[in-house]
Subunit: 201 residues, 2 copies
C-alpha cells in the first residue's frame, strides 16, 4: 500500500494528501513530528527522505520526495488529475512556477508568523512577492475555471495547497475574487478536506 509521510501543519504534505483523497487512493499516513530535528527523525523516514523533509511517498519500494515531483509521479501512475496529454507542458509550467513563487512566498510568510520570527524588511519582501503571486493567479483564473482548461489537475492542487491557510500568512483574498471562487470549486470536489482535517484518516 502507498505510504505517505506527512505532517498536518505542512501545506506541501497537504497537496499530496489532497491528491490521494480526490483520486480515492487508499494509503497509510505516517505523521512526522517536525519539532524533532531532521537528523533525529525515525530511521525509516530518514532512509526514505532525500532531503529529510515531508512529504515523502513510498510506493513499490521506491521513495519520492518534493511535493510537486510526487504529484507528477502520482498523476502519471494513477492517470488522475493530470489533464489532457496536450496540457501536460502547461501543468508542468505551473508546478515549476509554484515551487519558485507562491509555494515559496506564502509558506515562508506563514512560517515567519507562526514558527520563526523574521525582521520587518524580510516580511515586507515576502509580502511583496506573495501579492504579485496572488495577482498572477487571479489574472489567470479570471479567464479559466482551473489552471488548465480541461478541468482540475495537480497544477491546481499544488498552487492552492497553502491558500486555505491564507490568514495564517497574514494575507487576505478579499481583492482576489477569482482565486476565492477557484478555491471554493476545489473544495466542492468529492473527497476534499480542509488542510486542518487532512491528517491521519
Amino acid at each position: 500500500m502507498l505510504k505517505l509521510y506527512g505532517n498536518v501543519a505542512s501545506g506541501h504534505s497537504y497537496k499530496v494528501r489532497l491528491f490521494l483523497l480526490l483520486a480515492g487512493i487508499e494509503h497509510e499516513y505516517c505523521n512526522v513530528d517536525l519539532d524533532v530535528p531532521l537528523a533525529e527523525r525515525t530511521l525509516d523516514f530518514v532512509a526514505a527522505s532525500r532531503f529529510g523533509e515531508v512529504p515523502v511517498v513510498v510506493l513499490d519500494g521506491t521513495s519520492v520526495c518534493q511535493s510537486n515531483a510526487i504529484l507528477a509521479m502520482l498523476a502519471a501512475r494513477y492517470g488522475a488529475l493530470r489533464g489532457l496529454a496536450s496540457e501536460w507542458p502547461t501543468v508542468s509550467e505551473w508546478l515549476s512556477w509554484e515551487a519558485n513563487r507562491i509555494g515559496f512566498s506564502v509558506p515562508n510568510l506563514r512560517h515567519a508568523l507562526r514558527w520563526r520570527a523574521q525582521q520587518q524588511p524580510v516580511l515586507d519582501y515576502l509580502r511583496e512577492r506573495a501579492a504579485a503571486d496572488l495577482a498572477r493567479l487571479d489574472r489567470e483564473l479570471s479567464a479559466s475555471e482551473f489552471l488548465v482548461s480541461s478541468g482540475v489537475t495537480i497544477a491546481d492542487l499544488s498552487c492552492a495547497g497553502y491558500l486555505y491557510w491564507i490568514h495564517e500568512a497574514g494575507l487576505s483574498l478579499e481583492r482576489h475574487v477569482h482565486v476565492r471562487r477557484w478555491l471554493e470549486s476545489i473544495a466542492e470536489l468529492p473527497g476534499w478536506q480542509h488542510p486542518d482535517r487532512a491528517k491521519r484518516p
Copy 2:
C-alpha cells in the same frame, strides 16, 4: 527549428541554452531585453510566454516556459541528459528542490546585488538560505560525481545554472570543494560555455 527566447544575464535562460549546447541541438536564440517592462515586450514573445519571463522555448508550434519544465520537456524529446529511467524520480526531485531552494536563494541574492538593492535583513535571509543550499549540494556531491549516479543530467544543469556566477551573488565556494569539483566536471563537457558567453551564437 527550435527557438529559444533568453537573455545572457539570466541563469534560468542559461540552463536551457546549456542543454542545447551539450546535446548539440541546433536552435535560434532570440535575445529578450529585460529592461523593457513585461507588458511592453515584443508581441511574438508575449504570445509565447505564459509568465512574460525568459526562458521560453517554441518547438513544433508549442511554447513552453519555466526553465525546469523546459529542461524536462527537452530531455524527454531528445533523449539526452535524462539519466536512466529508474533515476527519473530523483531527477524530478532535484528539479523541484532547485526551484524552491538554490534556484531561489542564489538568483535573488545576485539580483539584489546587481539590479535592485534590498535591505540588510533581506540579504541576511537570502544568504542564510543560500548557505544551507550550498551545504546540501556539497554533501550530496561528496558521495557522487553528479546528482544521479549514472552521469550528468538536467538535474545538474538546473542546480549548477547560477553557480558559475557565484561571486556576483556575493558568495564563495571556497569551503564547498565538492561543488567546485562538480562545476569543473560540467565545464569539461564538450560544448560547454560559461554563462557570460552562452548568448546569441
